[in-house]
């Protein structure tokens, strides 16, 4: 299981990483491994405003589908269009090419409540 040291995490396996004023999110290596080959990712419309913990999309494998949740509240600025043509990006590069959304955080202090890489690694390792 690889962990991106520059990200923070939710226990539901989403990561969040600061990128200037934006935050970028996707799912962790642990999550993509548990789901298996990703066949489809449903992403929100740009401009949508979502609260922390709200489902913003769905990630599907052949035999499973999981909601993915906002690590922080925010307004969607961009979604990863490449995933529609190549959903396997999530399997290959969960922390880079396989990102899901970029958003403007509406409550930046939520960052401090997210799991640190070490805390997430310890929690995910128990599963």
């Amino acid at each position: 299981m690889s962990i991106d040291k520059n990200s923070r995490y939710r226990s539901s396996h989403e990561w969040a990483r600061k990128d200037g004023a934006r935050v970028v999110s996707g799912i962790s290596d642990h999550a993509q491994d548990a789901l298996g080959d990703i066949v489809f990712v449903e992403l929100p419309e740009v401009g949508k405003v979502l609260k922390q913990g709200e489902a913003f999309g769905v990630v599907e494998s052949v035999k499973a589908a999981s909601d993915v949740y906002m690590p922080m509240s925010g307004k969607i600025l961009a979604v990863n269009e490449a995933l529609s043509g190549d959903p396997a990006l999530v399997n290959r590069e969960p922390y880079s090419g396989g990102w899901f959304i970029a958003y403007e955080p509406t409550n930046p202090s939520e960052w401090d409540g997210l799991l640190t890489p070490e805390a997430y690694e310890a929690e995910a390792g128990k599963e």
């Binding site: 066949v39 489809f40 449903e42 769905v58 599907e60 494998s61 052949v62 035999k63 499973a64 589908a65 909601d67």
Partner: protein, 442 residues
């Protein structure tokens, strides 16, 4: 017993292997007070006796097999080629389950793929699913799909006033739990489409409508799409052998009752709910879908796919709860479409068109009767000089089934008869109908 093979000796040997003394012991978990009740069913019959009884019951019905039949209104009397039941009744199709194990279900899976391909061509859409329970539930699920697609800010659904009344009832049952506004329109779909707004999830058009009218749908899709809504068209699949497809006129979701494609009327079931959609809506579509795949040697095969939409994976978040569908009916329709083929389906549709128009002229010529205006395909409304229900009652006793008295659904419309003419009706039958209507008017 013929269907329960194990003898008392077998049972004894099996009980010994399990390590119990009696079959009753296997049921010790069942509350003793309620165990092995007397049901009050009659004693079992032999096959011969049971079939005699059932044949006698069946003979009590009025049947299209020995009448001049002009009744449609949602269940249609069309010709079924002999190959259709002969092939569909093979045990390998009949007694197979849902094709969850693709290696031993390629027959069923390829048949579904061929059905999806042909139905998508008929409808003019990208994808068709493997079936719903009937045309009414297919339409209800299409409306749910449009509501789901539109989200909570679009609670309004526009429906044609002249839609099959039972379809409307099913829709109301399905939507009872949600705050949805069902808004009926009585004008042309193209006019109604101008009233689609930002609160509307979809506009439903019937093609043709319940009274047989074929509306021009060419101007409908643009205003619907401009308002961000979805166009749902409920069509007659036989008519689509001749007339423009809903998809070619911009429909996003197309549904149909597929019974007419090779299936008997059967007192209303089992029928075939057909549903197709454009590519962008496919992952919101309910029902099973078959896709093409390859094995490790590159051999082509077929599998159930996009399953993450369905209840066995998504449970409470599934797009629908549908599981069992109308597989065997779909198979019959697949065989029907392939047996008739390109020219055959068109020929059936042309026969319906020509005979219906001939019948309309013949009836309009009978004093006291008038045929409603507008373009029609195989059904049309006739204004009658005496109550239509009386005509139906008198004629049915003589083996002529003239159509549906509209008062069955609309009590105030006492003098209107919905007549259906198909390739099954000969010229002589049409003339008999006109003559019988004449006699019934006096």
């Amino acid at each position: 017993m013929p269907f329960i093979p194990n003898t008392d000796a077998d049972r004894e040997a099996m009980l010994a292997a399990i390590g119990v003394k009696s079959v009753e012991e296997l049921f010790s978990d069942i509350p003793a007070a309620h165990r092995f009740p007397k049901l009050g069913l009659p004693a079992g019959l032999s096959e011969l006796e049971a079939l005699r009884e059932i044949e006698a019951l069946a003979a009590k019905n009025l049947s299209a097999s020995n009448s001049a039949w002009f009744l449609g209104a949602g269940a249609y009397n069309h010709f079924i080629p002999a190959a259709v039941p002969a092939l569909a009744s093979r045990g390998e199709f009949l007694s197979a389950y849902t094709p969850y194990q693709p290696e031993v279900s390629q027959g069923t899976l390829q048949a579904i793929f061929e059905y999806q391909s042909m139905a998508a061509e008929l409808f003019g859409v990208d994808t068709v699913n493997a079936s719903h329970y009937d045309g009414a539930t297919a339409l209800a699920e299409a409306v749910l799909m449009a509501l789901n697609h539109g989200g909570s800010s679009r609670p309004r659904v526009m429906l044609p006033a002249a839609m099959h009344p039972e379809y409307k009832e099913v829709l109301r049952t399905y939507l009872a739990a949600f705050s949805v506004e069902l808004d009926e329109y009585a004008d042309e779909p193209a006019a109604a489409a101008k009233r689609v707004d930002a609160r509307t999830a979809c506009l439903v058009a019937s093609y043709p409508d319940f009274e047989g009218r074929v509306h021009d749908l060419s101007g409908v899709a643009d205003p619907v799409h401009a308002a961000g809504a979805v166009l749902v068209v409920n069509a007659d699949p036989i008519m689509l052998g001749l007339l423009r497809s809903p998809g070619s006129m911009g429909a996003d979701i197309v549904t149909a009752e597929g019974q007419a494609l090779g299936n008997a009327m059967n007192y209303g079931g089992p029928f075939l709910g057909m549903m197709g959609a454009t590519q962008k809506l496919v992952r919101k579509m309910p029902g099973r879908i078959v896709g093409q795949a390859a094995d490790h040697d590159g051999r082509r095969g077929f599998v159930l796919t996009l399953s993450a939409r369905e209840q066995h994976i998504r449970r409470e978040k599934a797009v629908s709860n549908i599981c069992s569908n109308q597989g065997l009916v779909m198979l019959q329709s697949t065989i029907y479409l392939e047996a008739l083929g390109k020219s055959g389906l068109r020929a059936v549709a042309e026969l319906c068109w020509n005979k219906a128009h001939y019948a309309a002229k013949a009836i309009a010529a009978v004093p006291g009767y008038a045929v409603a205006g507008g373009t029609f395909f195989k059904e049309f409304v006739v204004k009658t000089p005496v109550p239509a229900s009386e005509i139906v009652d008198r004629l049915e006793r003589r083996g002529v089934v003239p159509g549906l008295a509209l008062s069955r659904y609309y009590p105030a419309r006492t003098h209107e008869l919905l007549v259906c003419v198909t390739e099954m009706n000969t010229k002589a039958q049409i003339e008999l109908l006109a003559q019988s209507l004449k006699e019934a008017s006096v």
